[in-house]
């Protein structure tokens, strides 16, 4: 069996203490919630914290609450709970689809939405044991200084593999972070990520994700289509999150965010421009060419590399198809009720908008 290396574990009393401990111990410390990402990676020596700060048990992180500002989900809420929540399912179908598609039932019972937002980027030159990586020569993500899949690359090309992050971004969600002194800040979900597989999060090392805030329900239809080999367990090989706002039968705005095509979730909402102002019926039935054109434009900036399962050309082709499917799925959903898109900040994550 692979052994877990020795480490200390501290159960934080509250979020502020967790942030304080992180700040105090610097890069020796990491947060642990469900541990489903962290623990296997510690066994393989990919992550080498000597102190784990437990936050999974904190009641502060375990809430799902609604207000007129939207729905707030604590970072410690498990994926299984999100997946089973009918209210969330009705309001944010894409988000719930994404949560339900993560790994397997057992891992969703332990895995949290906060851990999923922060899940490590993946690469099949990196997700290997210490001995394997040593045999090949280490890479810049851990212990080395070159990128094994793209040796000329100046940054790490490990793949953003969170299923829920692209939907959160498409919905214009925000993330609440708590710093070492207990200070809070709210950040657009899109701004949590940056284009480097090594330092893929923009949060400060001492910051804890406290919650995810979804915009008020109503207004956005949403869908998530995930590309992978085995639907019972595998990480995404590509995929698309789509959020669609309408006024009557007319598309007002459409956001598209791709997953697993590069080091961060890729917002390609600009590609949705041709849809804005068009009737839903055109998307659903009539204009096949229109959807195909949008999907082709959406995946144009995606540059999957040979560092995940199956051929990268196939992954890109399938991501294009995922975009089409996600748009169609979203368009087919019942008309959203509640406030119109504009009243809950359709601008938060940019996106193509009727102008």
């Amino acid at each position: 069996m692979l052994r877990l290396p020795p480490f200390s574990f501290l159960r934080a009393r509250d979020v502020a203490e967790a942030a304080g401990l992180l700040a105090e111990h610097g890069d020796q410390a990491m947060l642990v919630a469900g541990g489903t990402d962290l623990v296997p990676k510690m066994k393989r020596g990919q992550l080498t914290p000597t102190l784990l700060v437990g936050v999974g048990h904190l009641a502060e992180l375990g809430h799902v609450s609604a207000s007129d500002r939207g729905v707030e989900i604590g970072a410690g809420v498990t994926l299984a709970r999100v997946a089973a929540d009918a209210r969330l399912g009705a309001a944010y179908p894409g988000y719930v689809q994404a949560a339900a598609s993560v790994s397997s039932p057992a891992l969703r019972n332990a895995g949290t939405i906060g851990g999923n937002l922060c899940v490590d980027t993946r690469c099949n030159y990196y997700d290997m044991s210490f001995e394997w990586r040593q045999a090949l020569g280490f890479c810049m993500k851990k212990d080395g200084d070159v990128c094994r899949v793209a040796p000329a690359s100046t940054y790490c090309r490990a793949i953003a593999s969170s299923d829920t992050a692209p939907v959160a971004i498409a919905l214009g969600a925000t993330v609440v972070l708590v710093g070492p002194g207990g200070q809070r800040r709210e950040l657009a979900a899109a701004d949590l990520y940056q284009d480097d597989g090594r330092c893929y999060l923009t949060k400060q090392p001492g910051e804890v994700v406290e919650s995810l805030r979804l915009p008020p329900p109503g207004g956005w239809r949403s869908a998530y289509v995930k590309v992978r080999r085995r639907h019972a367990i595998d990480f995404p090989l590509g995929g698309a999150a789509v959020a669609l706002a309408t006024t009557g039968p007319i598309i007002e705005a459409c956001r598209i965010v791709l997953t697993a095509v590069g080091p961060r979730p890729l917002d390609v909402s600009a590609a949705a421009e041709p849809l804005v102002g068009r009737p839903l019926a055109e998307v659903l039935g009539g204009d096949v060419g229109l959807l195909a054109e949008v999907a082709a434009a959406a995946v144009k900036p995606a540059k999957p590399l040979d560092n995940a399962d199956l051929h990268y050309v196939w992954r890109k082709q399938m991501t294009r198809r995922a975009v089409e499917q996600a748009i169609r799925q979203a368009a087919r959903q019942p008309a959203p009720h509640g406030a119109p898109a504009a009243t809950f900040g359709a601008d938060a994550a940019g996106g193509a908008k009727r102008g």
């Binding site: 069996m1 997700d127 001995e131 050309v313 198809r321």
Partner: protein, 790 residues
């Protein structure tokens, strides 16, 4: 002689009934102790240091720092275990720990015993090995090219070629000359691994120069031999106990480094030592399916009768010999057991590459050529405009005949399994629409190899049955690897003695306590150990019957044996009586395959078997023309089992075989990149999950083999074989393209569709077959077709 449909024994109290396996309760409750569950007082833990290079000279190994570490008790290098070994006497090319050169990433170079695994691992990391890297040999093409520097081994050759064979039976050129139609195809079958749920584990204990090894092994007898040789001990000083296995599939058939290392460490330290491999190490231990490139050329007449066939293969063997020479010959041996091939030429080669060694995996050497052959016949049928099933039926071998390569065929239910699988699946009436397809294929497999791995005069299986106040005990070297051999032994003994299987105690797979059975490979256990157990138990029954008959003043024929009664006595009373009459009740039985079931040419040792099982599959699937993804809906599998000793266990084996076959057909690949295994984890090495596993309808056909125990034949391996070509055939049925390379992944399907869209050949697969330095043909006269064989 023809097949009969009625059972050959009058009382079938247990044979043929779908009974739960004898160890089922212990397995599902977790009570069973697998090798890694063994805990001994004072036990040390062993870790192996493995090579980070695909090919390198070992310049020096410095263990000073490791030995100085607290908690480290002993460190071994290749100097401590210099004797070479290997499962086949012709290629004993392995060393438990290599001290001269390493040949793949993962090749073991040192072993540490320490108070816990963490310390052992830290000590491994503290060992300083100086390597001088050599050119890696990454592919069949690399291996066939003149070596860049030194070849992997200094025996065999030329270069990195390990083994070659070239055989011709009958006049192949004349056959082609007479043919109305000749077709050639090239195929590639990617390597894959066994993926047992249980990682290999071994624990050794030594005292007074005697050593006992408990190991997850399929073949305790062969491990026993290797240990005696490498440790330099008489066989009587070594005992190997096969622990209950969490799956083998051929992956636990060789003697392994970790088994040898723990024995040596136990001898050196005087303490028990355990080594359990990590999942990644299991990928290095491997001995899995050989990646195989194949070329086949067949000549047929207008009706599709085969007139001549020429089959070429080249196998990527990885770094060591293992069972390789046999694996290679198997790629040519069994084609004639399903189809009448009047003239047949086989040229085979196995090459060394700097990868984890390949070896026997379920179907050993035959899934690759079966895939090639069946798909090739489909293509011929398509060209001739003949229904592919009809074309096959025209060529099916008849029962009780001999093949062109001298294999004796006895019971053969090819026609019946074909009828039944077609009926059940509705293959002939299938509705055609784009993206939906059905495929059909057949296969055969051996019920045990006719010859042992090494030449010896031992019976292939031996069994002792005792009865006394402690009940009935069966002693047999056979090893239950999850296939149900314990249940089979208990059922056979119970049947003969009028008992239920639960009443039989078993002592199996223990070289210190049980007579030799050669092992759980080549689907030999039911046929061979079953016959041995039946003989032993029947002799015991005879003693009981005689004693009771004498006491009751009746003739033995009048004494009924059934329902735990012998005549008018209860079983225990009868045992007491017989013990009084005959002394200790211990009987024995053994099995040796009959002579003359194969030919007399070099290479004739591979292929002969006392019987062959037959399987036919129909696969129904959707293949998406946009994504290339394949969704298998259902598999119908008809299997000529001879006779099902335990129907439930047989169905379990069929379903397991179908599952593994689909995995190989659709996703499994032990692939390499930069000399390293690309997917050494269960998440990254893709195999079927329950979600992908379709419905399986199993149809058992009983042809009652004249020599199998109660007419039984094998089921452990055969049903996997037709599944793979049936998938490929169904994909063609659905989309009109051929994927001539396994696994059939979605990207390959799309590449084939693209090729067709561009007006090229509507296929994906290897373009050509390399030039292989096959030796001159050995010409073997085929048997006289007219002569009866039995």
């Amino acid at each position: 002689m023809t097949a009969v449909d009625t059972p050959v024994v009058p009382w079938t109290g247990v044979v043929g009934r779908p009974l739960p396996r004898v160890e089922a309760a212990a397995k599902v409750t977790g009570a069973i102790a697998y090798a890694d569950d063994l805990q001994l007082p004072g036990m040390l833990f062993c870790k192996l240091l493995r090579s980070p290079h695909p090919h390198a000279r070992v310049v020096s190994v410095d263990t000073t720092a490791a030995r100085a570490m607290r908690g480290v008790v002993a460190v071994l290098t290749g100097h401590d275990l210099p004797t070479k070994y290997g499962i086949m006497p012709t290629c004993e090319d392995e060393q438990a720990l290599e001290h001269e050169k390493v040949r793949f990433v993962g090749d073991p170079v040192a072993a540490v015993a320490a108070v816990d695994e963490e310390t052992a691992l830290a000590a491994c990391r503290a060992i300083q090995v100086e390597y001088q890297p050599l050119a890696a040999v990454e592919s069949i093409e690399d291996a066939l090219a003149p070596p860049d520097g030194e070849p992997l081994h200094d025996y065999a050759g030329p270069g990195n070629v390990h083994r070659l064979a070239a055989l011709e039976f009958g006049d192949v050129e004349a056959g082609f000359a007479r043919a109305d139609h000749v077709r050639e195809d090239v195929f590639f079958f990617e390597g894959n691994t066994h993926l047992p749920m249980e990682q290999h584990s071994a624990t050794a204990q030594a005292s007074d120069g005697q050593v006992t090894l408990w190991s997850s092994t399929q073949n305790p007898h062969y491990v026993h031999r290797a240990l005696a040789k490498v440790l330099g001990l008489p066989m009587g000083s070594v005992r190997v106990v096969a622990a209950p296995l969490g799956g083998g599939f051929g992956g636990k058939c060789d003697p392994f480094s970790h088994e040898i290392a723990v024995c040596k460490l136990a001898l050196v330290t005087g303490r028990p030592v355990k080594c359990t491999l990590t999942r990644e190490e299991v990928f290095y231990t491997h001995r899995g399916r050989h990646p195989t490139l194949m070329w086949v050329r067949t000549g047929v007449d207008r009706e599709g009768h085969i007139l001549a066939m020429h089959f070429r293969s080249v196998l990527d063997g990885g770094a060591y010999g293992s069972y390789g020479p046999a694996s290679m010959l198997y790629t040519g041996a069994l084609q004639p057991t399903t189809y009448r091939i009047p003239a047949y030429r086989f040229e085979g080669a196995r090459v060394f590459t700097s990868k984890a060694p390949c070896g026997p995996k379920r179907g050993h050497g035959t899934p690759q050529p079966r895939f090639a052959l069946e798909v090739h016949l489909d293509k011929i049928a398509e060209e001739l405009g003949i229904d592919p099933v009809t074309l096959r039926r025209r060529n099916y071998v008849e029962p009780f005949t001999r093949t062109v390569n001298w294999l004796r065929v006895t019971s053969c239910g090819l026609q019946q399994i074909t009828d039944r699988v077609l009926d059940a699946s509705g293959y002939a009436r299938r509705r055609r629409r784009l993206g939906h397809g059905m495929g059909f294929a057949v296969s055969s497999y051996m019920c045990g190899a006719g010859l042992s791995i090494y030449w010896n005069t031992l019976p292939h299986s031996q069994c002792v049955v005792t009865a006394g106040r402690g009940g009935v005990t069966v002693f047999c070297g056979a090893t239950d690897i999850g296939q149900g051999s314990d249940s089979m032994l208990a059922t056979v003994a119970a049947e003969e003695l009028g008992l239920q299987p639960g009443a039989i105690r078993l002592v199996t797979g223990d070289t210190g306590l049980t007579p030799v059975d050669l092992g759980s490979y080549s689907s030999r256990v039911t046929f061979m150990a079953g016959n041995a157990a039946r003989e032993a138990a029947a002799k015991l029954r005879q003693l009981l019957v005689e004693a009771v008959a004498e006491a009751e003043g009746r003739s033995p024929e009048q004494v009924q044996v059934r329902d735990a009664r012998i005549g008018s006595l209860g079983f225990e009373e009868a045992v007491a009586l017989a013990e009084e009459r005959f002394g200790t009740l211990a009987t024995h039985g053994s099995y040796t395959p009959p002579a003359g079931i194969g030919g007399r040419y070099k290479g004739a040792g591979v292929g002969p078997s006392p019987a062959y099982s037959y399987s036919a599959a129909v696969v129904e699937l959707d293949a998406d023309p946009v994504t290339g993804e394949i969704d298998v809906h259902k598999v119908w599998l008809a299997h000529d089992i001879g006779r099902a000793i335990n129907e439930l266990a047989v169905r379990g084996q069929v379903e397991g075989g179908v599952c593994m076959g689909l995995g190989e057909a659709l996703m499994e690949a032990q692939a390499y990149r930069h000399g390293l295994v690309k997917q050494p984890s269960m998440l990254d090495y893709k195999s079927l999950t329950f979600l992908e596993m379709p419905d399986v309808e199993t149809i058992l056909v009983e042809t009652v083999d004249p020599e199998g125990p109660y007419g039984a034949k094998e089921v452990g391996q055969g049903p996997l074989l037709p599944v793979i070509p049936a998938v490929v055939s169904a994909v063609h049925d659905a989309l009109g393209v051929w994927v001539d390379e396994v696994p059939v992944t979605p990207d390959k399907v799309l590449r084939a569709l693209e090729a067709r869209a561009r007006g090229r050949d509507a296929r994906y697969g290897p373009k050509s077959f390399p030039v292989v330095p096959y030796p001159p043909l050995v010409k073997v006269a085929p048997p006289d077709a007219a002569a009866p064989t039995l």
